[in-house]
């Protein structure tokens, strides 16, 4: 249809020009009055609908599953399977492009990339999307600005000053590079230039640095792109570029800084933690952990991989801190544990401390009290906010002998209240970080033993999967396009049911894994979930976690402040979000049926 149909809108952007023309020529336009049914539930459809204006409700019986807005396309299932899973009903006056089923099926056959949009299961859709997202991320990385890259501060030295003076200046400012001022011209001198001059050139230490400096400095502005810096370095065979804002020098960027901007330096941070000799060394390393998240995400790593790296760094940090702060009596008798998301290895953007200490036997009270304060206090200073629920070492309830924990487990299970459920959930996710890991293993075995066969207890525990509804609100905002998105919805309606449902089933089946994805896959292996469905749950989890992480990063970077804004997502992401919530809903149903949650009001 002439140029009127926007073919840049996914999935149509994957079509070749000629295919787009075929599609355009086949399009009609439908008008639907509020309340009119576009596709009935479990009915075939002769067209793929693409909304031009208005809003369409996707309904499962009486339940509103999603609200679709302009540029959304539906219903792939009715096209491919010949039967829609849900009903589609106009909410407002709605205009849609109508693409004939035969044309769409033909395009699916001809273009696998286009066809991927119509896969029924989210795993295959995500696979098809994967490398496209990757391309975008590498692109965005190269479009980073020089001002985002670590820069050595611009420190000047006069050309008449000596090699020795330059060496001392480098040590004082802790930089390997100085700018050399020689009347009107500016040069660069590095530690390597000095060494070569002295060792190979046998120059006296009093020699003015003019002789060793390079005056063919390559300059860029702070708002220039990172890729320009890389190109210039390659072209001029330079390892350093001076950054100049038009008035003055701001600093020097080295090739290694550019590379670490692109590749991250998680290994370096890990090494720094392990080598830390003082609390100050550790504090510096701790500050760098948070930055890794952004770098790794820019590289296009999945949130689960990022979380794994960050968890590893955090745990190293906690272990080092434990070694520095804990007296010998506690180091020998204790097991330091992390719980909650930190224990599941799903923490990316830093939230708060969730840690505890299990002791093999009672220790000196005064030493223990001093350790409690020192450990939690230092972590707070490192930028790990105290846990609002006080699930941390500083709380005597979470740092005590194993026997006391075990006594409480029995109480939590015999008299379960909201706090008890929360405590069981938090503790189930615990992982040992330092000290005797066997203590945690014993504690967990005791907890699982106490629960075994207690179906009524398990059901009450699992009941929390019903705590939050699927976040239709998210889609409402999409239509009004003005509400601030709400990451809580993503967490509560999407991530939480998966995390908690997997936890409840893991508790019942005695699965030791703490990571949600590992639990889901384990449930698939033992036949508790169909393996293919377990895979879909994992993919839905990763997709939701990725959206949440990106929103958190955007917020941390001082973006809009809003969290996940459906209107800011691409059509494809919105479509995947719908699919992900659909998987969550199915999973919740399975958990509900398994524990007979219908019986509990």
């Amino acid at each position: 249809m002439t140029q009127a149909f926007d073919a840049s809108n996914p999935p149509f952007d994957r079509l070749e020009l000629r295919e787009i023309e075929t599609l355009r020529a086949s399009l009609d336009v439908g008008y639907f009055t509020p309340g009119e049914v576009l596709i009935a539930q479990n009915a075939p459809s002769e067209s793929l609908f693409i909304i031009i204006k208005g809003a369409v409700e996707e309904r499962d019986g009486d339940e509103l599953v999603a609200l679709l807005g302009p540029r959304d396309a539906f219903d792939g299932r009715a096209i491919v399977q010949g039967e829609s899973g849900h009903a589609f009903v106009a909410r407002d006056e709605t205009l849609c492009w109508l693409a004939p089923k035969t044309t769409v099926l033909d395009l699916i056959k001809r273009s696998p990339r286009f066809g991927a949009f119509f896969y029924l299961d989210i795993s295959r859709k995500l696979d098809a999307l994967e490398h496209e997202a990757e391309d975008q991320r590498v692109g965005s990385l190269m479009r980073g600005r020089l001002s985002d890259v670590f820069m050595h501060p611009a420190t000047f030295i006069e050309a008449d000053e000596s090699i020795e003076a330059a060496g001392r200046r480098m040590r004082d400012v802790n930089s390997n590079t100085l700018l050399v001022r020689d009347r009107d011209r500016i040069g660069i001198i590095t530690g390597m230039n000095l060494s070569k001059g002295v060792v190979l050139g046998r120059l006296p230490l009093e020699t003015p640095v003019r002789a060793l400096a390079h005056f063919d400095v390559v300059r860029l502005r702070p708002d220039d792109f990172v890729y320009e810096a890389l190109l210039l370095m390659t072209k001029h065979n330079k390892r350093r570029i001076a950054v100049h804002d038009g008035e003055r020098y701001l600093g020097v960027v080295e090739d290694i800084d550019l590379l670490s901007f692109i590749a991250g330096n998680a290994q370096i941070v890990a090494g720094r933690i392990d080598r830390a000799a003082t609390l100050d060394d550790l504090a510096a390393a701790a500050a760098e952990i948070a930055e890794q998240v952004r770098i790794l995400r820019r590289q296009g790593l999945k949130p689960s991989v990022i979380a794994e790296i960050v968890s590893d760094l955090n745990r190293r940090l906690f272990a080092s801190l434990f070694a520095m702060v804990a007296p010998a009596s506690i180091r020998e008798a204790g097991c330091l544990i992390v719980m909650g998301s930190e224990g599941r290895g799903e923490q990316t953007v830093r939230t708060d401390q969730d840690n505890g200490l299990i002791l093999a036997h009672p220790v000196n009270e005064a030493e223990l009290a001093a350790f409690r304060t020192a450990f939690s206090g230092t972590l707070a200073r490192f930028g790990f906010p105290p846990c609002p629920g006080a699930v941390m070492v500083s709380n005597p309830f979470w740092s005590r002998p194993l026997a006391d924990f075990e006594a409480d487990f029995r109480r939590w299970i015999a008299l379960p209240d909201a706090d008890a459920h929360l405590n069981v959930a938090i503790f189930l996710d615990a992982e040992a970080v330092a000290g005797d890991a066997a203590l945690l293993a014993k504690a967990k075995a005791a907890l699982m033993d106490a629960v075994r066969g207690e179906q009524a207890y398990l059901a009450r525990f699992a009941k929390a999967v019903d705590a939050f509804e699927t976040p239709i609100g998210l889609f409402n905002q999409l239509v009004t396009a003005e509400g601030a998105g709400d990451a809580l919805d993503l967490k509560r309606g999407g991530l939480f049911p998966l995390v908690h449902g997997a936890r409840a089933l893991a508790l019942e089946k005695g699965i030791p894994a703490t990571n949600t994805e590992a639990r889901l896959m384990h449930l698939g292996r033992i036949g508790m979930l169909k393996p293919a469905f377990a895979r879909q749950c994992v993919d839905a989890f990763q997709f939701l976690a990725g959206l949440r992480l990106d929103a958190q990063l955007a917020q941390a970077a001082g973006g809009s402040g809003a969290l996940v804004r459906p209107a800011a997502l691409t059509t494809m992401e919105r479509d995947l979000l719908r699919d992900a919530f659909q998987v969550v809903k199915q999973f919740r149903e399975i958990v509900r049926r398994h524990f007979n949650l219908g019986l509990f009001g």
Binding site: T2, Q3, D28, V29
Partner: protein
């Protein structure tokens, strides 16, 4: 709303029916399929009916609430007069492109068969029909007898039908599209204009059926940061 309310037009139609020169086109006087209308738009060399000529014609059938864009009629016409420079600015059709078109008399048979007896829908339709009639009259001996549905009149009725005297009336195409939430396709392309007109028609007809009105801003339009 339709030509029938005007006895003069009705009489003219009867007269034409009796005097049609080419009997092959009698179908124009028979009612079209029920629930079908045709949205039509012409781009012309200028706005003077007497001297200007048609450059492009687009017509799109509407069946019920479905706009059959895939079966549209579209023709580039070779004008006999030079295109006024102002008109080129409006529709970006250069004289050389228009020359590639067919003579209007070669286009008309297909257009007339496409329209048949269906009512015509347009925005300021009188002008388009007057332009067409210049050729149609000479071709088959009568003017287009079809019922006419003026979209701007429907819009006026839905928005200003109950307006107090003194209300400022804006019947511009842009205002109508904005009120109906219809996206602005690139304008002054006959197919797009006909399509937008068709969208406006189905939306307005539905509002009328449901007795719904388009709200008028009470006084001044509220400030909308970032525009609509």
């Amino acid at each position: 709303m339709t030509g029938w309310s005007n006895p003069w037009l009705a009489a003219k139609r009867l007269f034409h029916q009796a005097t049609i020169g080419d009997q092959n086109y009698r179908f124009l006087f028979r009612p079209g399929p029920p629930d079908e209308v045709v949205a039509i738009d012409c781009e012309t060399t200028g706005l003077d009916v007497a001297h200007d000529e048609i450059i492009t014609i687009a017509a799109i059938r509407i069946r019920g609430s479905r706009i059959l864009a895939s079966e549209r009629f579209e023709a580039l016409v070779r004008p006999d007069v030079r295109i006024a420079p102002e008109a080129i600015k409006v529709h970006h059709l250069l004289e050389s492109e228009a020359k590639a078109g067919a003579l209007i008399y070669h286009v008309l048979p297909d257009l007339l068969r496409f329209i048949g007896g269906r009512p015509l829908v347009g925005y300021y339709l009188e002008f388009d029909i007057a332009m067409l009639n210049k050729a149609v009259l000479g071709f088959i001996g009568v003017e287009l007898p079809n019922k006419r549905i003026e979209v701007s009149r429907l819009y006026h009725e839905r928005k200003y039908g109950d307006a107090p005297p003194g209300t400022v009336v804006d019947l511009s195409f842009a205002a109508m599209l904005a009120d109906l939430g219809i996206p602005r396709l690139s304008q002054h392309d006959a197919v797009n204009d006909a399509l937008m007109t068709a969208m406006a028609y189905v939306a307005l007809r539905d509002l009328k059926r449901r007795g719904a009105r388009i709200p008028r801003p009470r006084m001044k339009a509220p400030l909308q940061p970032g525009g609509v």
